[in-house]
């Protein structure tokens, strides 16, 4: 398959990009609003073309543990789900992080808590960026704000997962998963045939047996391992922070928003500028590692930052930690599947400016 321009849903773009990125396996379970990923892959039937395995598991729990098994073989494997399903996957995710395995997890977020709604939300930010399961660990979290980025972040996510031997999450939402946009798809990559030295692929005479585990009953060794993980996360903070800025050069007030909210803030920003308000926007693309340094720099010269999220206020805590009291920070959010309008966002910026 060559490079190609298509009109697709965000979910479909993820599925198609996974095939083209040379993924070895996808293990999923249906849940709205992301079932198109599994459906698309089943219809595309890549087992017969690239050899990619696609399997509908009996539960989200089984699906993430299939990902664990596949990742432990050094294979490029992924799963996807939406909020309640991602909660079920947390057990597997912490094992994968603890066993230092690469994999890609897609969360097309819907409103919660509990069964919540099937409409878009950004209320899984804490779960995605602070660990999610038990134990000290982080995922590397990518936040797409377009269908194009849904596609692009699949390959980027796999690359980062293997670079750090760490699970990577694409934190999307029901709006980006369901909306259609044009998307450039990359040409088909061949699946890798490389046998990774740490992978469980059968023990040849040339190496000791490989053991993939997250267990160490010796607390001193376990603590050493915890320090090793911390060092890895610091390295990510050093090398992998990604963000985008709009009109921040002369901005007095800054919107901080990711994903769907960032799209809304782009429009709100135009409206604000038309009214003579010197607004800007910082869109974090990686939510872990978070663009702390850049926000801290901007805090030296702006009058305030307004975090806009479809949640009760989760990412705003990272904005506050980043600026460490240097500037005013506030939050505006809608919840339960409600999406704010650009006008609404602008009005909130205006009242924030008034103080």
């Amino acid at each position: 398959m060559e490079k190609e321009l298509r009109l697709m849903k965000g979910n479909e773009a993820i599925a198609e990009a996974a095939i083209r990125a040379g993924a070895d396996g996808y293990f999923g379970y249906p849940i709205t609003p992301q079932s198109e990923i599994l459906e698309y892959l089943m219809e595309a039937n890549p087992q017969t073309t690239t050899g990619m395995v696609v399997l509908q598991a009996e539960s989200e729990v089984a699906a993430i543990n299939m990902v664990y098994g596949g990742a432990a073989c050094g294979k490029k494997v992924m799963t996807s789900s939406s909020s309640p399903g991602i909660s079920l996957k947390q057990e597997g995710i912490t094992y994968i992080a603890g066993a230092e395995l690469p994999c890609l997890i897609v969360n097309v977020v819907r409103g919660g808590p509990g069964l919540g709604t099937i409409q878009p939300a950004q209320s899984d930010y804490f779960q995605a960026t602070k660990g999610g399961g038990h134990g000290d660990y982080h995922l590397l979290v990518l936040a797409p704000s377009s269908v194009q980025e849904m596609a692009d972040f699949v390959e980027l996510g796999f690359d980062l997962a293997f670079k750090y031997r760490n699970p990577v999450m694409i934190l999307s939402d029901g709006a980006i998963g369901q909306m259609m946009e044009k998307v450039w798809l990359k040409p088909q990559k061949k699946r890798s045939e490389e046998i990774l030295p740490w992978a469980t692929t059968g023990k040849p005479a040339s190496r000791p047996r490989n053991i993939i585990t997250s267990l160490d009953l010796d607390p001193e060794r376990q603590e050493k391992f915890n320090f090793k993980l911390i060092a890895k996360y610091r390295e990510m903070e050093e090398n992998e922070v990604r963000f985008e800025e709009f009109m921040t050069d002369d901005a007095e007030y800054i919107f901080v928003a990711y994903g769907t909210s960032a799209r809304l803030c782009q429009k709100a920003l135009q409206l604000a500028r038309a009214e003579g308000i010197k607004a800007g926007l910082l869109r974090p693309i990686t939510l872990f590692p978070y663009p702390k340094k850049r926000l801290n720099e901007l805090a030296d010269r702006v009058k305030g930052m307004l975090a806009v999220e479809m949640s009760a206020g989760q990412m705003v805590e990272d904005v506050m930690l980043s600026v460490n009291g240097k500037t005013r920070v506030s939050h505006y959010g809608r919840m339960g599947g409600m999406i704010p309008t650009p006008d609404e966002v602008l009005e909130n910026m205006k009242s924030f400016i008034k103080g």
Binding site: A62, N65, M66, Y68, G69, V77, K203, L215
Partner: protein, 259 residues
Amino acid sequence: MAEITFNDIIKPENLTYKKSKLMTDNVMHYCPGCGHGTAHQVLAEVLEEENLQERTVGITPVGCSVLMYNYIDVDFQEAAHGRAPALATAVKRLMPDKFVFTYQGDGDLAAIGTAETIHTCNRGENILILFINNGIYGMTGGQMAPTTLEGMKSSTSPYGRDISMMGSPIKMADIVAMLPGTCYVTRQSVNTAGGVRKLKKAIKKAVQYQNEKRGTCFIEVVSNCPSGWKMTPVESNKWMEENMFLFYPLGDIKVPAEK
């Protein structure tokens, strides 16, 4: 008659069984008299005799055999509690030429991992599930398992398992035998030399069926837990024969047609 000493007995010509080359020198953490060590040895013998080391991936459970990867010299993945069959599913699908097995206890396979066990067998994944059933949670200190017999005491059924409150012990081998995806289901034991030989034969068959891609092989090993049952090894084997074997009778439950 002269007294027979240890050294008189331990001579190469007297040794019927020897340690498999695939068993490591690590000191086992299993309690004296426990069946796990014997089951490990039998499995290692088959892997060695069938030249499977280079293409074997084993999945260990959570429970007493969580550290099995320390004892057998093949590649291992350590699963979360009950999830071993899900890992094995992916390993086999992604690398169909490997020999893939899970090794699971009764809590792991028949309680927390019931869904994974049933659905892996129902899909007919070409793997071997080795199920050690000793009717108790050994690792956590002797709690009631789904396979604990009626009236049997444990730390969470201190007055004996009352089936009106706690349900009946579950016969997993019989359940998975009903699923079209399983090709070979058998119940064995390792308490006698004869039992050890039969288990070895069963594992060899499972290797053959996996090579022939015939579906899931499920081998239950009814075993003992001297520590959990609070018995000596000898007493525990006697109790197992008199009680466990009545409820979990040994023998083949499902055998595929010969090709």
